[in-house]
Amino acid sequence: MLPLLAQVKITDRNGAGQNCVQQDGFCPGWIKDHIGDYVDPLVRHLELTVVSVVAGFLIAFALAMLAHRRRWLVAPITGATGVMYTIPSLALFGILLPITGFGFVTGCIALTAYNLLVIFRNIMAGLDNVPEAAKDAATGMGMTPNQVLRQVELPLAIPEIVAGVRVATTTTVGLAALAFIAGAGGLGEPLIVNQNFKSNVVTVGVLCVLLAAVLDLLLLLAERLALPWRRVAR
């Protein structure tokens, strides 16, 4: 993909001979003609984001279930995921290469690792904020701890869990622009091939923001569909 895009750009500059393009400017016409070239990287970007967020959610959820009734686990898990959150993604790609090699998987691992803290913290906060009275009533009416968790605590924690996933998703869209360094592709690839060409840079930036906005909207929509009680409550 890399050499191909480079060629595209070169032929364009020579062929069209447009002034704007030659000056690396911002050229709406060029963007219109070449938007198709961004489809594949965009799809790959989407894949990176979705896989990382889903994987991050699954792992964070498992960790949260482990820690929910064993509060002492919260501190070490927050600490460990905090370190993963702190390590710069570029550095993490570099560190992962000897272990997982170049490719999609490495990109996903780094992005997933990055998501864990935000999602874990929000799941815990969501569970902590379930009204004590609802839990007491549920237990008092004869629900087992697992029933309380499934029927009361988790449903009531959904808003905060979704909030965490939304933050993770928009952040991952931005971070995935660096995944090309791990050989995982994404919108960072066309970006860097033509890094001085403003039309290219702007197109990638806008595509990222649009992708994030669309995913955010979908999550918001899913949340509203899943939570009829939130719509009607005052």
Binding site: L92, I95, V167, G205
Partner: protein
């Protein structure tokens, strides 16, 4: 490859990486010396970029956040900044500004200042907004002026969050500074990006170094944040990052390192 072998070879690679940090050697293509002491200019350039960006970001974001928080204006601005900013790739922003302003240190610093402002601004804003209305009211009732209210009541109570924002931004900026080589500023990102010059050892070694820098900054600023938190407000235990239980504040949710 079986798992133990993977781990063994990875550890060996990490060893080579650490060796790069300590011992100078020829570049891959030869002709240039890399590694060891030759890393120092990269490190100093990295820290310079981080320091300058943070300085400007703090000078702009803290007063602005405190002011808007104090006057209770700009709720919309505060929340949009933290939400929209998240999905813009740092690298796109860095490249964009450099393509206009040229390949220079000051242009990288400009882009990174922009990236560093939102978390600090949001936290300063939220920090002041969350100060108990009654406390402010009591302070006014005792005759404190607006400036005195900010200096003696709102600022001390908001300071922990302000430093929380700075802490988030420092980690962001340390990460983003690795993108410097793309716009002609040779930071610690150079060996990570230009493997053809530095080799795999260089990539792994500096990656470890940058990760260590980020974690170090995180721990350092967590300590500072704790130190400026009035004792009664301190959480019982403070780990690497916000171990506070309960609802994450807007500021925590707004954490957006690159």
């Amino acid at each position: 490859m079986s798992l133990p072998l993977t781990v063994a070879s990875a550890l060996s690679d990490f060893g080579d990486g650490l060796d790069f940090l300590v011992h100078q050697r020829d570049s891959v293509a030869g002709g240039v010396q890399v590694g060891g002491a030759k890393n120092l200019p990269l490190l100093s350039e990295h820290l310079k970029v981080v320091g300058l960006s943070m300085l400007f970001a703090i000078l702009i974001a803290v007063p602005l956040g405190l002011y808007l928080g104090h006057t209770k204006r700009g709720q919309f601005v505060a929340s949009s900044i933290s939400n929209v900013g998240r999905s813009v790739p740092a690298i796109a922003l860095v490249l964009f500004f450099s393509s206009y302003l040229g390949l220079e240190l000051k242009n990288l610093v400009f882009a990174m200042t922009l990236l560093a402002i939102p978390p600090i601004f949001t936290n300063a804003y939220v920090g002041v907004r969350q100060v108990d209305e009654d406390v402010v009211d009591a302070a006014r009732g005792m005759g404190l002026t607006g400036v005195q209210v900010v200096r003696r009541v709102e600022l001390p109570l908001a300071l922990p969050l302000v430093f929380g924002g700075i802490r988030t931004s420092v980690v962001n900026v340390i990460a983003t500074a690795t993108l410097g080589p793309y716009v002609g500023v040779l930071t610690l990102g150079d060996p990570i990006i230009n493997t053809s010059v530095y080799g795999d050892d260089g990539r792994i070694g500096t990656a470890i170094l940058v990760a260590a820098l980020a974690v170090l900054a995180e721990v350092l600023f967590a300590a500072i944040q704790r130190a400026v938190t009035p004792a009664p407000l301190r959480p019982a235990r403070q780990g690497l990052r916000g171990l506070r239980r309960g609802r994450p504040t807007l500021a925590q949710v707004a954490d957006t390192p690159a």
